[in-house]
């Protein structure tokens, strides 16, 4: 376990017109880039601090605040992997409660001065105070616990509903957490009644001090709205429905949190804390929470420092070329413009294609300006950076050209060959191919070492993952530049060997092939969808197929079938679906399209199986494919697979992406006799 970066609780005593005021500062000794977090060492420091504060005579009030820019980012999640037993988890829970209770029990007014980030335990320690002030500079306030597979169990499910009522508590603890871990800001927290005063960041603590003096002198009055518990049942039902749709019962956390919030109506604080102790004792050692902490750590650290990138300085990317002005090319143009603000040349073979692409770029840049994501005044300048063309010669001074032409090898090779006549020897050639061999694409070039795969996910603006493909001859500078460019485009980049469909699509297709097989064998579309969605993916598989587009999915399936004919058998029914230009198996009403039902040939007699068996089949297929990818060196480590599945396929934290789920659900061992994470 990494050693705990202990958040120290240090107190100063300060004179005021209302007497001695204690300021307790939470500080882990690092700057804002390493926020305060609470582990057992931090709780020991809080207890020691409380010993001193309680012994200090004549204290009239206490202010609790954080180091500059940071209040508290919550429990130290790096300790979670070590908390494998119920006993230890209970100790963690009770230690936090006991320490926070000492703040609650202080005989004078206490003020939580939320000067910055306040998440999880950070927000809970503020709730342990009598009053709270908050700064609009607190960019992230919330309870991410349920997102991770935990509950806010150091008082969150007890104190928050008692303060703001069940509706807002459920909003923050359940709805926001399960909605991709949505945070609120300081201003919103004030509006929701979490804080009693909103003070500007510039003199936030000065004003909090004045407020505290005012409380003592009776010149400040805090008015709060009584929590409204009248609609509790409906609110609980609504929250449970959201939990069902997001975690399908796989993670117990949100359900327990909902129950605790409801129980806070009649519970004393002590009773609420006891419920929380019990919940944490159960949840922390549970596999979904262990996976959640793992996933959180991956996204916070490993994903930000891609593994396997050679050391060295990237080449400058001062001008970018895009081959193909279709939907992908246009989206890429918008991305480069927004993020890198470099000149972009966009080329296609016909003026009408280029015009259409330019139309999209213009519309999209304007739309983003409307939404305030781009400074409106800069729109004409940004649009002026795009240069449409039909001529490769206009790309002569590009440092980086990405192709997004038709997914056909001869076309790709042709445009690369033509392009190479015009660009410099060091110009990076990237390809957005989703399944073709990057090595082959580069094979006829004079400088194949400059070619690199740059695989985005659709929609490009929203999907955070970028698979960066090292082909056989890809040089270090080209790879370094690709990663640097990916980072500047705001993407999480994962290194991948040149192999069919790379990482995410290879896994999703493996899952889809198995899914189709289940239907072909005689199971119903809906049953299969429901059974597999309950595993934890972001949506049912046939809904995903419709989103991706059956034709594109089929194309990737066929590429994979060429490479791995035994595992990626193309369903004849699926081919027929695409041949009939169906957008999916469901009609607009959400029911199976009668035409699809008509042509889809299922086994006769049908071999129907139970939902769990369906999940087993797909999970085992995924485990098998993960092992193969690792064995073949397609991807460096299970962690990279998980980063890909989280950012590229929306797999949940409580599955730890994918491989942690395959481990804890027993599939890794079943398939290969060992776990992806034997030490977890």
């Amino acid at each position: 376990m990494p050693e705990e970066l202990v958040t120290q609780f240090k107190e100063t005593y300060n004179d005021s017109p209302a007497g001695k005021i204690c300021i307790v500062t939470m500080d882990n000794g690092e700057d804002y880039r390493k926020p305060n977090s609470f582990g057992l060492g931090g709780m020991a420091s809080l207890n020691a601090c409380m010993d001193r504060v309680e012994a200090e005579p004549d204290v009239k009030a206490l202010i609790l605040t954080g180091k500059p820019f940071i209040f508290g980012a919550g429990a130290d999640l790096t300790m979670v992997p070590e908390v494998k037993t119920r006993e230890l988890a209970l100790e963690v829970a009770q230690t936090g409660h006991a320490a926070f209770k000492r703040i609650i029990d202080l005989p004078y007014p206490t003020v939580g001065a939320i000067n910055g980030v306040a998440l999880g335990g950070g927000l809970e320690i503020a709730l342990a105070c009598d009053y709270r002030t908050i700064s609009p500079g607190a960019a992230a306030v919330g309870f991410p616990e349920c997102f991770l597979g935990l509950i806010p169990g150091w008082g969150g499910t007890t104190l928050l509903p008692k303060l703001v009522g069940p509706e807002k508590a459920l909003q923050i603890i359940i709805h926001n957490a399960l909605n991709n871990n949505r945070m609120i800001n300081g201003k919103k927290a004030f509006e929701l009644g979490i804080a009693d005063r909103l003070f500007e960041p510039v003199d936030f603590l000065d004003k909090t001090f004045e407020f505290t003096v005012g409380i003592l002198q009776g010149t400040e009055k805090v008015e709060r709205t009584e929590p409204d518990w009248s609609n509790l049942d409906a609110l609980v039902e609504q929250a449970r429905a959201v939990a069902d749709s997001k975690v399908h019962g796989n993670s117990k956390a949100p359900y327990i949190a909902i129950d605790n919030i409801a129980a806070a109506k009649d519970n004393t604080i002590e009773e609420g804390f006891a419920l929380e102790d019990e919940a944490l004792a159960t949840l922390i050692p549970s596999p979904p929470m262990q996976a959640g902490a793992y996933a959180f750590d991956l996204t916070q650290r490993r994903a930000k420092k891609p593994v396997g990138v050679p050391e060295g300085a990237p080449l400058p990317v001062r001008k970018v070329g895009i081959l193909g002005a279709g939907l992908m090319g246009s989206q890429l143009a918008v991305l480069f413009l927004r993020r890198m603000k470099v000149p972009v040349v966009i080329k296609d073979i016909k003026q009408e294609f280029v015009d259409k692409g330019m139309g999209y770029v213009e519309q999209e840049i304007n739309r983003q300006a409307e939404k305030g994501r781009i400074d409106k005044d800069s729109v004409p300048w940004l649009l002026n950076l795009v240069e449409p063309t039909l001529d490769y010669a206009d790309m002569a001074d590009c440092d980086f050209v990405i192709e997004a032409v038709l997914e056909e090898m001869p076309i790709k090779k042709k445009v690369y060959g033509e392009l190479e006549e015009h660009v410099s020897e060091t110009c990076i050639l990237a390809t957005n191919t989703s399944s073709l061999s990057v090595t082959e694409m580069a094979s006829d070039l004079k400088h194949p070492e400059r070619v690199v795969g740059f695989h985005f996910f659709n929609p490009v603006a929203a999907m955070p993952l970028l698979e960066i493909v090292k082909a056989e001859k890809t040089s270090d500078p080209a790879l370094i530049t690709a990663f640097d460019t990916g980072r500047k485009l705001g993407k999480r980049c994962v290194l991948c060997k040149d192999a069919p469909a790379f990482i995410v699509n290879r896994l999703l297709l493996r899952s889809m092939v198995e899914t189709l097989k289940l239907v072909d064998e005689g199971n119903d579309f809906k049953e299969v969808d429901d059974a597999l969605w309950a595993m934890g993916g972001p949506m049912p598989p046939f809904v995903l197929m419709a989103l991706v587009g059956p034709a594109i999915a089929l194309h990737t399936n066929e590429t994979l079938a060429d490479a791995f004919p035994d595992r990626y058998v193309v369903s004849e029914n699926f081919k027929e679906l695409v041949a009939r230009k169906k957008s999916g198996v469901y009609g607009p009403d959400g029911q199976v399209d009668p035409e699809v039902r008509e042509f889809w040939k299922q086994a006769d007699p049908p071999k129907k199986i139970e939902a769990q068996e369906m999940r087993d089949r797909v999970s085992e297929a995924l485990a098998d494919e993960c092992w193969r990818m690792l064995d073949d060196g397609v991807v460096g480590a299970p962690e990279e697979i998980d980063i890909c599945m989280i950012f590229g396929a929306g797999y949940p934290f409580y599955m730890g992406g994918l491989t942690r789920y395959l481990d804890y659900a027993g599939y890794s061992e079943k398939v290969k006799g060992k776990k992806f994470h034997p030490d977890a």
């Binding site: 100063t12 300060n14 500062t25 500080d27 180091k67 510039v202 003199d203 603590l205 001090f209």
Partner: protein, 396 residues
């Protein structure tokens, strides 16, 4: 169009506490520009009738203008204080008289009709920026003997002043310093500084603290103790840390308004600027500066020294204060007109901030003494200058 000259009023003034300029000083971990922001926000908060969008200039002085005192601090602190983005600002420098210069420059903007409302002040974080930091004096100063080497060391210039006035003894200086400490202590205890010094929470290794008191005052200092102090500037010298002002971190500022603004916005001025003047002397005896500056400002104002009820003299060194008192026939060593609430030997002297500290102190002294009609703020300046500003009490 005919030019109409405007009177200039001081609406309010305040300062941060003055910390010791060292690694464990109260402001060691606080940025100089944040101290400025504190002063600006405080002045505007407690004078809400001053419209923020009508401030014509935000003028700030610092002797060292880089790092947290760089980047045209007058403009950066306007933005950082939350003033409208339309508020201009600039930075000025006259070393120890930086604050006096920003105020007099602002006053002149008002007088000639270029401005109606001005925020002016000075800051020096001597912990972050030791005196002369980064300076590269022209070698001609030495090769042509334009100045003596001692001119660049303020303590040495004080020793030079002793050479020039050999009858002024160390024990007189020590006694003067103790008087200054006692006066400061009395005024502090009586709450005279409750509106002058603005509490500010500051970051330190021990967490956040409220810095609301000057760190330098030593009210308990005795003559005996003073005798035992070392001479940092000269063997067998006379200048000690006890009879000097010290190295400090602090910021001070004022709001200035034209007569027109006073009327239009219903402001309640504390004093009217009568006249200001700058003068210069040999750099080796820079402590003399207030003498010619005061003569000059009196002459230009058509006033006599005895017209002044109160003199706020920045005590860079006790010897320099005594020279000033002798020159103007004041009662040695405790003329009641001089620094009635104590001076820099007690409070400290964060170079560019001191001018506005004197003005704030004068403004609040006037408030308690309606009988005091005129007051002078004056100070010596490194490299041999003096600044002097006369104010009229309008709080009666």
């Amino acid at each position: 169009m005919a030019r109409e000259l405007q009177e200039v009023y001081v609406i309010d003034g305040c300062r941060t506490a003055f910390g010791k300029a060292r690694p464990n000083g109260a402001f060691a971990n606080t940025r100089a520009d944040d101290m400025v922001v504190k002063v600006i926000r405080t002045l505007l908060e407690r004078n809400p009738e001053v419209p923020k969008d009508k401030i014509d200039d935000n003028i700030w002085a610092a002797s060292t203008q880089w790092g947290d005192q760089g980047l045209t601090m007058g403009r950066t602190t306007a933005i950082l204080s939350g003033l409208p983005v339309t508020t201009p600002g600039c930075s000025v420098d006259r070393m120890c008289a930086g604050g006096a210069t920003s105020a007099s420059f602002g006053a002149s903007e008002i007088q000639v009709g270029a401005a109606d409302l001005i925020v002016a002040g000075g800051v020096e974080h001597m912990g972050h920026h030791p005196m002369g930091e980064g300076a590269d004096p022209n070698p001609r100063f030495m090769s042509e003997k334009l100045v003596d080497q001692s001119a660049l060391n303020m303590g040495m210039t004080a020793e030079n002043l002793h050479d020039m006035y050999p009858h002024i003894t160390q024990s007189q200086c020590d006694e003067y310093s103790i008087l200054s400490q006692r006066k400061a202590k009395k005024a502090l205890d009586e709450g005279k500084f409750k509106d002058i010094i603005v509490p500010m929470t500051t970051w330190s290794g021990e967490g956040w603290k409220v810095s609301d008191k000057d760190e330098q005052p030593r009210p308990e200092a005795t003559l005996e103790e003073m005798k035992g102090l070392r001479y940092p500037f000269r063997v067998k010298g006379r200048v000690t840390p006890g009879n000097s002002s010290g190295l400090n971190d602090g910021a001070a500022g004022v709001i200035l308004a034209s007569e027109r603004a006073v009327k239009e916005y219903g402001l309640k001025p504390k004093m009217r600027l009568v006249q200001y003047a700058f003068a210069a002397v040999k750099p080796e005896v820079m402590g003399l500066g207030p003498v010619p500056a005061t003569h000059k400002v009196l002459e230009r104002a058509g006033m006599k020294f005895d017209d002044l009820s109160v003199i706020e003299l920045n005590e860079a060194f006790a010897v320099q204060a005594i020279v000033f008192m002798e020159e103007f026939g004041m009662k040695l060593l405790d003329d009641p007109r001089l620094n009635p609430w104590g001076g820099a030997i007690a409070f400290g002297h964060p170079l560019a901030s001191s001018g506005c500290r004197l003005m704030a102190q004068l403004a609040y002294f006037f408030g308690e003494h309606p009988e005091a009609k005129y007051g002078l703020a004056t100070m010596c300046v490194g490299l041999g200058q003096g600044a002097a500003i006369i104010f009229e009490n309008v709080q009666s």
